[in-house]
């Protein structure tokens, strides 16, 4: 069951013009009669639209019902998909969705500190909770696929890498001020190269073929 409180669940959901334009493009990708395949992109659109309109990017049930209507499928089939993927929030979240990776590589590299810093900076006690100011929700996630630069803190769509306690606190403070720091490695690492710069292929030079 979705633990949506009655106040949180809006009475009505309709796709706005921006979403509708995207829907038209998405539906055109699938052969006639296979529109149900578009359920994932439409759930994503609904979540983003909610983020735009209310500051909380989640998919309320009315939005799932609307998607079922648009795609001519049974609502329960949309509920199944939306609840299967953890990327869809079926309950309201804060403006900044802090997704902390705590899987082994990140954990070995200090994800516990990231979690502690998030707690300290936001006042959130446990997973899936939203801070009193409504800005932050903290979620525990499994491997985000960025282990080379572990630990990872994903804020909404962006990866902040090579995190530790102080960097996390600084990041959250900046977010509170309304700044959006540049995503990527926070230790100055070049992409996912070794810390301090590349250590292999340093002497090779490429000359254009004659």
């Amino acid at each position: 069951m979705a633990d949506t409180t009655p106040q949180a669940e809006p009475a009505h959901f309709a796709f706005d013009d921006e979403s509708n334009a995207a829907i038209a493009k998405i539906l055109a990708r699938y052969p006639a009669g296979k529109q149900a395949s578009a359920v994932l992109p439409l759930l994503d659109l609904a979540q983003r639209q909610m983020g735009r309109q209310t500051g909380s990017a989640w998919v309320p049930r009315v939005a799932m019902d609307e998607i079922a209507r648009v795609l001519a499928m049974a609502p329960i089939r949309v509920y199944e998909v939306a609840t299967f993927y953890l990327m869809f929030n079926t309950a309201p979240v804060g403006k900044f969705h802090l997704q902390v990776c705590t899987t082994t590589p990140c954990w070995l590299r200090g994800s516990d500190e990231v979690v502690a810093a998030c707690r300290k900076a936001t006042g959130i006690a446990g997973w899936k909770e939203t801070s009193a100011d409504g800005l932050f929700t903290m979620t525990e996630v499994e491997c985000l696929g960025g282990c080379v630069n572990a630990p990872i803190l994903q804020v909404n769509d962006d990866f902040y890498e090579d995190m530790d306690g102080p960097r996390t606190e600084a990041l959250l403070a900046a977010l509170k001020r309304g700044e959006v720091p540049q995503p990527g490695s926070m230790s100055g690492r070049q992409a996912s190269a070794p810390e301090g710069g590349p250590t292999t292929l340093t002497s090779l030079t490429f000359t254009p073929a004659e």
């Binding site: 069951m1 049974a74 329960i76 089939r77 509920y79 199944e80 609840t83 299967f84």
Partner: protein
């Protein structure tokens, strides 16, 4: 065909079968939880593991593995046993050990298989998972912690019932089976979820904690709460019917049962007539059988036969109707009618009023026109067959009537007889090789019913529904007794009055045999009414003498379903109190006034039925005929322009038994709040 050797037994199975089917063909039982032969294959429980030679050395899920020619299968090797024991151990990790308080106990697949493959103790010391129970409405009780995620219920509601309401939300450890948004299931077939759930996650809500299966006396019988005549098993303890389950009958109900037929049982205990009543000074007072008979005899004394009439109700067995008809004949009356709804049924030929294609025959049809019927509400099991045929593809369905969700795609062509002339109707029927038409009581129980019947037949004749090998004309009945009554000619004899003619003082004595479905206020104020039946419903309220009869679970009765299939119901418990089997009441009354009906026991009465109509000689067998004679029913006049309305507005309350049932009242409140309010 593929040759497969199972445990040394060689069998041939059709290509495309799965290994599990091959094992069954060889008579080897393979345990299964998720596999069900009428549902799509999910292959998720892994209990059906077998070993296959010359395949990769691992156990295979036999339900999801196709056979190949020359395959050698072992269902009982050491590897198989070990693998199944492993699966069982995993299944039991989260399954509670609450069999002593579980209603499925004694008829639980998991319990049974655990005896064969379960360990003697658990190695799992961690916390078990607990899942919140779901509220699926008044019929299905859930204990979701017991769910083993076989997804049978999801597949049943999506595929067979045609209402996609059940699903699996979230995943992994958090996966839950349910409706997500709490709601009562809207299917008329939801009770079957209880049967297909292999564990005690879905059980019967009204039957919760009532009895254990081994305490019950089981009686095979036939259902009468609609005209389908589903095969049922009546489970009783002491003198009480506790539950009704479907029985396998491929020709009629496959293995399903509609909710009313399953859950109206509690109506059998309420509002029962268990003694005679005679109206004295305007008030009904208890009486003995001789007093009741004497009161009727006093009224009949010296009365001309033409002033006496009889109406047969919707739940009557053929035996009692035959006896009543004979009694009326002995009294010199030709005033008989069984059509309480006034349907313009033409009994001059059997195929004018039967479901000639047969229910199983629906699967051979390739186009369907529905006229004035809502099969989902009037006969859910017929509707399930139509849906099954529809899923097989290439089956256009068009309908004339009030648009409704029938669980399959329907082209609604109009709601009145005028739509019969639509070119689209003819195009669809003529393009088909085996087209069929279903005419409902909503098309016939109206002033222009005879004309509609004739027009439908004419359309059928024109569009090739009536072939030498194929009979595509079908009348869908809603009353279990109707076809039997028509077969017996329980209709006005020469010069006799029909139901309307008996109203408003048309007769002086009116014998109602379980007749409750017409407006009893139309009966003349001075008419003396005898009500013979089992429930204190509309008919009994108007009666001057009440004779307590037996309900369908309490007598040996013959019923003819809408197809014209003759079936025998059986006695599961004895009628309550003074109540008696109905034909014996009529025979005893005839004796008390010195009339001889000519039969003293059931075999003699059944011989009389056969003599009245040879169809009664062949119970259970339904010979299928083509149509040899295209001449249609008499008809008369032109069809009017009024819209067709289904006679069943509220599926859950259609007869005295379901109206007395608290469970059906709850369903009415859940699904038809307006109707429930009006009833209060």
């Amino acid at each position: 065909m593929a040759k497969v050797t199972v445990d040394g037994i060689e069998v041939e199975v059709p290509n495309g079968s799965n290994v599990l089917q091959a094992c069954e063909a060889a008579g080897k039982e393979v345990p299964r939880f998720c596999y069900h032969e009428r549902l799509s294959v999910a292959g998720n429980c892994r209990m059906c593991l077998v070993e296959i030679e010359k395949a990769p050395p691992k156990p295979f899920a036999s339900c999801a593995y196709p056979v190949a020619d020359g395959m050698v299968v072992h269902t009982d090797s050491e590897m198989v046993r070990k693998a199944r024991r492993g699966v069982m151990e995993f299944l039991l990790i989260n399954h509670p050990l609450d069999c002593p308080i579980c209603d499925q106990g004694g008829e639980c697949d998991l319990q049974d298989q655990a005896v064969g493959y379960g360990g003697d103790h658990s190695r799992y010391a961690e916390n078990k998972r607990a899942v919140k129970d779901k509220n699926l409405g008044p019929l299905v009780k859930t204990v979701m912690t017991r769910c083993i995620h076989c997804t049978r219920c999801i597949r049943f509601s999506t595929e067979i019932a045609g209402v996609s309401e059940m699903g699996a939300t979230a995943r992994g450890e958090s996966m839950e089976v349910g409706t997500y948004v709490e709601k009562a299931l809207t299917s008329e077939l939801s009770g079957n979820l209880i049967d297909i759930c292999p564990v005690g996650a879905l059980t019967s809500k009204p039957y919760a904690f009532v009895a254990r299966p081994w305490e019950l006396k089981k009686t095979d019988s036939v259902d009468v709460l609609d005209a389908v005549g589903a095969s049922i098993r009546v489970d009783a303890r002491g003198g009480e019917v506790l539950r009704i389950l479907p029985r396998l009958n491929e020709d009629v109900n496959e293995e399903w049962l509609a909710d009313k037929s399953r859950f109206a049982v509690d109506g059998l205990k309420r509002r029962r007539l268990d003694s005679c009543w005679v109206r004295r000074d305007g008030k009904l007072a208890p009486a003995t059988w001789p007093e009741a008979f004497a009161a009727i005899a006093a009224k009949l004394a010296g009365l001309d036969g033409g002033r006496i009439g009889a109406i047969a109700g919707d739940l009557c067995d053929a035996e009692s109707m035959a006896a009543l008809k004979d009694l009326m004949g002995a009294l010199g009356s030709a005033n008989l009618d069984c059509r309480q709804d006034g349907a313009a049924l033409d009994a001059s030929r059997r195929d004018f009023y039967c479901f000639n294609t047969s229910i199983a025959g629906i699967e051979e049809a390739d186009a369907l026109l529905i006229v004035g019927a809502n099969p989902r509400r009037e006969a859910p099991l017929v509707n399930a067959r139509i849906r099954k045929r529809g899923l097989a593809g290439a089956f256009p369905v068009a309908a004339i009537g009030t648009p409704a969700d029938l669980t399959y795609p329907v082209t609604w062509l109009g709601d009145s007889p005028a739509a019969l002339a639509e070119p689209a109707v003819r195009d669809m029927l003529k393009a088909a090789k085996r087209p069929m038409m279903i005419v409902g009581q909503g098309a016939l129980a109206r002033a222009d019913g005879a004309a509609v019947l004739a027009a439908c037949w004419a359309l059928a004749a024109e569009c090739g529904l009536l072939g030498a090998e194929w009979h595509g004309f079908n009348v869908l009945h809603t009353a279990a007794s109707r076809v039997g009554a028509l077969d017996l000619g329980f209709l006005p004899g020469p010069g006799g009055r029909d139901l309307a003619g008996m109203m408003g003082g048309g007769v002086d004595v009116l014998w109602l045999l379980g007749a409750d479905e017409f407006d009893t206020s139309r009966i003349g104020a001075d008419t003396f009414v005898v009500y013979q039946g089992h429930h204190g419903d509309r008919g009994a309220a108007r009666a001057d003498v009440i004779l307590p009869g037996a309900a369908y679970t309490e007598k040996q009765g013959t019923y003819v379903n809408t197809e014209g299939r003759v079936q025998r119901g059986a006695l599961a418990v004895y009628p309550p109190g003074d109540a008696r089997e109905d034909w014996t009441i009529i025979r005893a009354f005839a004796g008390s006034i010195g009339k001889v009906l000519g039969y003293d026991d059931l075999p003699a009465l059944r011989a009389r039925l056969e003599q009245a109509n040879p169809v009664f000689a062949r119970p259970d067998i339904l010979p299928r005929f083509g149509c040899g004679d295209l001449t249609g029913p008499a008809g008369g006049g032109a069809p009017g322009s009024a819209a067709f309305v289904s006679p069943v507005a509220n599926y859950y309350q259609t007869d005295p038994i379901s109206r007395a049932s608290p469970t059906m009242a709850e369903c009415t409140a859940a699904h038809h709040p307006a109707a429930a309010l009006a009833a209060e």
